[in-house]
């Protein structure tokens, strides 16, 4: 079962897509005013740009949810004094740096090393987070990505795999 937060993002995303398609159609009450003097092709190009931007923004929201889930899990494992290897590794980190740990170099690495079977998924996540950094930090450089295209669908699928495969601890 998918995490409730990413399901809410997907539902919101679908509503925005449907709203944009309606707004850019002649069924919209403001169509004449908004697109006065424009060609059908110009309207299609603008709609495509809006849909693409929406896709990217929704993907970023999924990344934020994934990051929050890993950080919350880190704190829970540190506080709950669980006895598995991952929780022990987190507590060792917490002794030194408290909450000032890096998502990728510390938390992801600990999962990869200490949680059996997570290596491939964490590798995919690290690749996708390069795309997340490009998205979140102004998109001013050309990202070197593991795959040619990340979009909302692929990022959602990856997040779903994370929530379905890794036992991320939630707040009590």
């Amino acid at each position: 079962m998918a995490n409730a937060a990413i399901v809410r993002i997907a539902e919101y995303h679908n509503d925005v897509i449907a709203s944009l398609r309606l707004y850019f159609s002649d069924a919209s009450p403001s169509f004449q005013e908004r697109f006065f003097g424009r060609t059908p092709e110009e309207i299609s190009v603008e709609l495509a740009a809006r849909l693409e931007e929406t896709d990217l923004r929704s993907a970023l929201a999924i990344f934020s949810t994934v990051e929050a889930a890993f950080r919350v899990d880190y704190e829970q494992r540190c506080q709950a004094r669980m006895r598995d290897d991952l929780s022990r590794a987190f507590r060792a980190m917490y002794k030194e740096r408290k909450k000032k740990v890096g998502l990728e170099e510390d938390i992801f690495e600990a999962w990869k090393d200490e949680w059996p079977g997570s290596r491939q998924l964490i590798g995919s996540l690290r690749g996708a987070f390069k795309f997340r950094h490009w998205l979140a930090h102004g998109r001013y450089w050309k990202p070197r990505l593991a795959r040619t295209k990340y979009d909302f669908g692929s990022v959602y699928g990856l997040a779903e795999d994370v929530f379905n495969s890794l036992p991320l601890c939630e707040p009590d």
Partner: protein, 185 residues
Amino acid sequence: MSTRAPRNDFDEFVRRQQVSSTVAEIDWEKERDEWLDYLNLLYKRVEAFLTTYTSSGQIVLEYRNVKLNEENIGSYIARKMVLRIGRQEVSLVPVGTLLIGCKGRVDIVGPAGKARVLLVDSDASGLAALVHVSVGTGGKIPVFAEPASRTIKWAWRIVTRPPERRFVEITQERLFDLIMEVANG
């Protein structure tokens, strides 16, 4: 093989893709030719405004063919007017006739920007005069008033910047302002 009824959405999608009888009745060649005639009228007007400068050689005016492609009409050739003013080049680029709310558009394009000239209903003073929004109250669906049937007289107009978006006649002074705006910023 299943013969169940098609889904409503798909049914509606297929229906919308059919050429409606209204669309089929339109003489698209006539629409295109009318638009090209109006385009020539605009060019003649601009030529007249610039005579002093073109006759002295300070502005060189020439035409280049551009290929336009519009739904139902297909591809056709129209003329683009190019004004060379010293090192600057400003073009009047025809965009097409199948547009939202108007019969034609020419973009005035220069190194510093772009402005639009539209072929609109000569009786309309601005966008607000053409756009009617009906609002339903108390949960009732709005009633749309049918526009009165009349022959529209088309005229080239400059659309002022938002929020006014008024249609103003193309005078020599306004055309010069537009050219300077797109050339110099």
